[in-house]
Symmetry: C2
Subunit: 390 residues, 2 copies
């Protein structure tokens, strides 16, 4: 049976080049980088080399990179680390209503400890308006966090416009760029951000590695207190193989970015136009142009998304309903509610995220199977049959 | 040249069986465990299997294990997670004076946020006295954290005596067992602890994985807020290959524990007696009997420890001065100060941690080279020459 994996935003196979780069660091190069003898201290240089590679991918300097265990940890470090470090200056934080759970729940935690949090609404495409951000800012605002692109609807935010407003008022600006780094060009100076979250997983590095970019002089309380690792900013023995893999994956992403973008954009456009031609009453979610090149997301009327994805799964197609981290108990996606969809329509969500390994044939296979699945599910739906009869 | 690696407490090569177990999870089994389709959701079962293996090694149940990125993260989660969750009940915490940096600096951080912390002194062997702990407890004490064994001096604490005092008063008891799990039998029920920290590194699992055992009903605020992973207790995509490796390493540790203990105890005893026979004015640090079976630590009078270790390094011997995480700027180890050593003597610290791969020949090689190094360094030491002349 044909297999088409299109959930690269949730996980992607570790690339062979990355595995090859990592392998020596499990066995022969196993030393602890904090030790003074050669087989330990040599690893420290190797780590710093990867730091440079990750930094290069986002236009930063090596010393502005803190390695973490995931994008989620980097988001927690950014939100809680800045809030605690700047608490004396103010107690107000602004995030968008469609942030990843690791930002959202960090902000909610801070709310319970005495901070005030404003959750900025988004428009029907998921965009945050700079004017609305400007209005939400108060004298006691210390931190704004708005994600670069949303993993569920693919919309890319006007980060440089948003950060400019904050820079002027000396408010720290963080962006969760897990969905963009490696998929579109990302430059911390063009974006004008103080902090930026990256995850290894979406680049083809192994699970268990991420990073936080922090601009020089950004004050940050560690999330994991400990020893001298990461220059005192993150305790615990470094995940050396993960860091090596992350560096290699960043290098590959940098080299291949223009070609990969071009490739997935063609696939995405074919999927979006194919779906709208072949399936009636389906809504593209997110912005039609300001979206990730390899991201197509839909809500299909009168369909239960999970049932649709399980039917596709049976046909060897792997797609998502939204965020892999969302609670399974949570019936309606907060992101889809935030862009104004009815709970009914939001139920029929399907998200396809593609990468360089996908092909035109993959898209055509999805179109055929998706059309069949929707037909079958709708034939079983009382709501749909009523409508058809009317 | 002969190579003798004896810093297994800082890092140890990932075992071949562990690498073999992990490998499929980089490539073919790459799915995100939180997804609904088969290639993702199947991984969740694999993770829970490893959870059982890690739990078995410490006499716990799988659902009492939270996977983290390191022992340091688990220590931070235990200390800060309990303190914040129980803040309404009280604001006093007790730790020993010789805890790992991740416990020590978490407690110091809490001190700055309004908690009171008592740092319990230790005796000349590094032991915490149950009577002293009982005296330090106040009505507002919510948490006690005392490490199972110290990585720098090898002393094993009387945890069950200490925890019994806390249990009676309904105070949460945490132990950092990074130095013991896999090296001596560890059972959370025998120890009577509510929380226990494990690290993968010391078991031959890869860097980047650890775990916190938490007894049912122990309230804990997450350190990394996020999605549904680890049943809401730790956000971020699971480090699947790391978890698989950790499970395999736990399984092997369980099988081999009695044999390995026996083996390293013989090596340790040969090293300790050889050093005391061949080198004058050297002090065994830590307890002579209540110590880790594979741990030998000394302070050599009139010697600069780093110089000694670098000389050994040249001869292919890898040992440590103390904790790999200690600041290189820190001239005197707080642990050695806590057991009452003079700053002078504490300078000459050397720590050897052995495992099943070490041999009698390794010990004899160390004894020869250590004796030579000490002689050479002392011949250059004005203090030593004065003494010899006197």
């Amino acid at each position: 049976m044909k297999k088409v994996y299109m959930d690269h935003a949730s996980a992607t196979p570790v690339r062979k080049e990355v595995i090859d780069a990592m392998m020596p660091y499990f066995g022969e190069k196993f030393g602890n980088p904090s030790t003074i003898y050669d087989i330990g201290s040599e690893i420290k240089k190797d780590i710093d080399e990867q730091r440079e590679k990750v930094a290069t991918l986002i236009g930063a300097e090596g010393k502005e990179i803190i390695f973490t265990s995931s994008g989620a940890e980097a988001n927690n470090l950014a939100i809680k680390g800045v809030a605690v470090a700047k608490q004396k200056k103010g107690d107000h934080i602004i995030i968008s209503a469609i942030e990843h759970h690791s930002v959202l729940n960090s902000a909610r935690y801070l709310e319970r400890t005495g901070f005030e949090v404003t959750f900025l609404p988004v428009d029907e495409y998921g965009l945050v308006s700079p004017a609305r951000l400007a209005k939400a800012i108060r004298p006691e605002t210390i931190l704004v966090s708005i994600m670069h692109a949303n993993n569920e609807i693919g919309t890319i935010q006007p980060i440089s416009d948003l950060s400019a407003i904050c820079r002027e008022k000396e408010i720290v600006f963080h962006t969760d760029a897990v969905a963009t780094v490696g998929n579109i060009p990302v430059d911390v100076n063009d974006l004008g951000v103080d902090l930026l979250t990256i995850s290894g997983v979406s680049l083809g590095a192994p699970k268990g590695i991420g990073a936080l970019y922090f601009r020089k002089n950004t004050r940050l309380m560690p999330l994991i207190h400990g020893g001298i690792q990461e220059r005192g900013r993150r305790g615990g023995t470094e995940n050396v193989p993960g860091i090596i893999g992350f560096g290699k994956a960043s290098e590959l992403a940098m080299e291949e970015l223009p070609e990969n973008m071009n490739h997935v954009r063609k696939l995405r456009d074919r999927l979006i136009s194919g779906v709208s031609e072949r399936i009636e009453q389906v809504k593209l979610t997110g912005h039609p142009e300001k979206r990730l090149p390899g991201h197509a997301s839909f809500c299909v009327q009168a369909i239960e998304g999970e049932a649709m994805l399980i039917m596709l799964n049976v046909k060897g197609i792997y797609a998502n309903t939204g965020s892999a981290c969302a609670s399974k108990a949570l019936k309606t996606s907060p992101v889809l509610v935030a862009i104004g969809l009815s709970a009914d329509l939001a139920q029929g969500s399907a998200v396809f995220t593609m990468n360089r390994t996908n092909s035109i044939e993959d898209i055509d296979y999805i179109l055929t199977e998706l059309e069949l699945s929707v037909k079958k599910l709708r034939s079983l739906s009382p709501i749909w049959r009523e409508k058809a009869a009317a």
